[in-house]
Assembly symmetry: C2
Homo-oligomer: 254 residues x 2
């Protein structure tokens, strides 16, 4: 008694040869699923996930609200399609020679992707469907780690480590941007405006380290015109750690 296959798979892999594509009965669709997904991505890039409503998307496409549901079963499924298409649209550069460079490239691609589509980070608590975009990406990531001495599980964990780290870095950046957007103040201005209040309110408690380090970090980050600098430290440490692990494995094998 096999369970029914996931209906969303057909939609995710709609460009494959698996689709019949014969001339079908009934009124024709004015648009394609790709049109819908692309428009949704455009809106989400601009206004975030919360700014993407089915009604808005529909009118943006010149459709009535409910007509969207002939293209896509629901909002969650639309989001899944958006994720996979965003992944799929990016062209994946050839892997360079050195392993550290390949790791850095995996991270950099992820970084640029998340800068371009910040809403990818807002998608949590959603199912992780396997589509062509995600599959191509995963295959590409693994191709950079194949044959270097890692076993299969370690390859998977390495990919997860690299892209997970990048995700957390970008998320931190976004939070800062969000703060500045909703408060209308830069980080420096906010601290200046709230310094007195914090003195009052923190009465009794003292944060010697947090105060010192926070101030230093605040100055450094605000001066940084290149936000990618935040990533350098962590990525360098991670790659170091991974390389020395791999070299250790190779030495043990010999």
């Amino acid at each position: 008694m096999p369970t029914q296959p996931d209906p969303v798979l057909r939609l995710l892999w709609r460009h494959g040869a698996g689709e019949p594509q014969g001339p079908r009965r009934g009124r024709k669709q004015r648009l394609s699923v790709d049109d819908v997904v692309d428009a949704a991505i455009r809106i989400a890039d601009r206004d975030g996930l919360s700014g993407l409503s089915m009604r808005l998307l529909a009118t943006d496409l010149g459709l009535g609200a409910m007509s969207l549901y002939t293209y896509v079963p629901g909002r969650d499924e639309l989001l899944a399609l958006m994720v996979d298409r965003a992944l799929g649209r990016r062209e994946l550069p050839a892997m360079p020679d050195g392993l550290p460079d390949r790791m850095a490239l995996i991270a950099r691609v992820q970084y640029e992707e998340l800068q371009e589509h910040p809403w990818l980070l807002e998608i949590s608590g959603l199912r992780a469907w396997v589509g062509p975009g995600a599959s191509d990406r995963y295959e590409w990531q693994l191709s950079g780690l194949e044959g270097v001495g890692l076993d299969d599980i370690e390859m998977d964990q390495t990919v997860a480590l690299l892209s997970g780290f990048v995700g957390s870095v970008v998320q931190a950046q976004q939070r800062i941007r969000q703060d500045e957007r909703t408060s209308g103040l830069t980080q420096a201005e906010w601290w200046a405006a709230n310094a007195d209040e914090l003195d009052v309110v923190m009465a009794g408690r003292s944060y010697p380290l947090a105060g010192r380090v926070g101030a230093a970090a605040g100055e450094a980050y605000q001066a940084a015109t290149d936000p990618a600098r935040e990533m350098e430290f962590g990525l360098a440490r991670i790659i170091d750690g991974l390389m020395s692990y791999i070299e250790g494995k190779q030495a043990a094998q010999r």
Copy 2:
């Protein structure tokens, strides 16, 4: 012309000595802000952030919906209070002796916290207010890295690296759990139920590495009763990388 201080700060630091606390006019509040925040945390622990609505919380507390707004200005502010209180309620263990153990402890505390309050990961796109819980936590994290040879900015980045990594690990775990919950199938069952469909739908494309690695990872993870195993690999590499960086700095200084 100084900007007005952030009104939420008073609420976040409500337990400090900064509050006047004299007997005030008017009808008395039946509950305290802590009661409200604790009830909200309880609901979010059980049903996630999307299951926490102002109406539900109010009736849970025996209040009318709008009465909540005398305790808290709005839902976003409530979430900020929940975050800070969740951080503040956890007691922070003493730092052990070795630096690697201290790093591991920082990560482990974060890990346990996110397991206990999964909704902490759902909070993104929200402002990052500075409250006593977050401040205590940050101070504690830094105390584990003080005097080891890192400068202030590196200390901040190290904390970010450790807790960011943990966040991404737990998020991956949650996504798997979410998949199993909404599909009603375990990972293994899902793949079994969709194997044929995937063959059809992937027609033409091949994923040699993704297929091999994915299968290996799938087997390993599903067999893993201890989900913390996922964290070990990455954390070990990160700590290695950090330690060798610090040792390199010390050697250069000598």
